[in-house]
Symmetry: C2
Subunit: 254 residues, 2 copies
């Protein structure tokens, strides 16, 4: 494990989103045998990582950053040099800046791939004509403004659901203890899926030319690649491809 | 990570079978939030682990045991105390005995859950009336006799496909570079699935009262839980449940 590049995945946010990213890394790798797949390590230690959303919304003072930094450093000690965090809300500056500051203090040499910035790069490269995207995400991600900020720099406007729909439909599809994806992922409930589809259609009706599935739980429920004329874009798959590109670009599927 | 039990998974054999086991651990855990899922670490380092089948068949002198032991020790250094290896062929004594001997030399304290023995325990507990099981597995697993030996001690006879069908149908469904599961897992090809279904039906026709999916790639293609009157049993799910039972038994779904 000394001489080869290893991908590190900070899982557990949620646990299914962690293995969903790993599956996408495998799916996007050209490999004809077990041995041709890329080396990777997944740490799924969910009880160590406080929920990101309440912290971003100010409902909790428990910043997940120290736990995330500790897991990244542990991945690094095991040889991982390129790291992915399959959780959009964890990319909010109030969390990610603190993670980066701890990594700097500890003189970490890892490269942390930024899922949201990679999504911007992807949009510019593959959808240069798109000027308005719809964002389906946790309320934490929506309020943190990470997608809005990152994409407005590229001249792309971000539409989000109206507050009531964000709270009562999108957020509950992810967090509701009865039917939400975090409580019931395998399979996802029909209610969670229908809530997300409704919100997705509303964004398209309001003019979204593409939709971002801006919470890594959402692709567990939504497999559509288009809604009407609008492409459905999965940042988790973009992260998977960016992790391959940063380590073994010659193995990336075209 | 000091005080809690952590599950370690030796993945990469193949890589999809590794995350399939992790998914089954999540599926079999009672959890209403991210934080209630169990701590686990997956090492998927496929290029480090020589293929198990050629070694068991004598076509290679490259024993995967040292690499497997090294990965287990690395999992242990990261806090994992209970280990699962989602690869049936890796449980052949010529591999597993060597793994155990290295772990003893290194004074390892991990508990390695034995997927094949757990399958025997499961059959006794849930299918006490079954006297004949059919085995669908790699030629390495079939020839190693691990299931035959483990189950004959319980008075259970193991039927395997005739040599030609084992080689040309079952083994190729797993290993063929064009359509085999190891080359194309997501999705599995229709050909691989049909080959396995055919072999499965033949085992049932010959009197198998239950079928063991004795290669961790096979559940990627076969989701049936019964063929005719015969139960289809997935040792990979049994391993997932055994890993939970060995760490957080109160969280195991009933």
């Amino acid at each position: 494990m000394k001489t080869e590049l290893v991908i590190g995945v900070v899982g557990g946010m949620g646990p299914y989103a962690g293995i969903d990213l790993v599956r996408k890394i495998l799916d996007e790798t050209q490999a004809g045998s077990d041995q041709e797949h890329l080396p990777l390590i997944l740490f799924s230690l969910p009880s160590k990582v406080p929920d990101r959303t309440p912290f971003v919304l100010g409902a909790s003072v428990d910043n997940p950053a120290p736990a995330l930094a500790e897991i990244i450093l542990q991945l690094e000690r095991n040889g991982a040099s390129v790291i992915g965090m399959p959780c959009n809300t964890a990319h909010a500056p109030i969390i990610l800046d603190a993670v980066r500051s701890i990594l700097r203090e500890k003189a970490s040499g890892v490269r942390l791939i930024h899922m949201i910035q990679e999504t911007g790069v992807f949009l510019q490269r593959h959808y240069p004509e798109v000027r308005t995207v719809g964002l389906l995400a946790t309320t934490g991600t929506v309020r943190s403004g990470i997608y809005q900020e990152s994409l407005s720099a590229l001249g792309i406007r971000v539409l989000v659901p109206p507050d009531a729909e964000q709270e009562e439909v999108v957020h509950r599809a992810i967090y509701d203890p009865q039917y939400g994806i975090k409580a019931r992922s395998s399979p996802v409930t029909e209610q969670a899926r229908q809530f997300l589809l409704d919100a997705l259609h509303h964004l398209v009706e309001r003019g979204a030319e593409a939709i971002l599935l801006g919470c890594t739980e959402i692709p567990l429920a939504i497999h559509e690649t288009r809604i009407g004329q609008s492409a459905v874009i999965d940042p988790s798959r973009i992260l998977a491809r960016a992790l391959i590109e940063a380590t073994y670009p010659e193995r990336l599927k075209s």
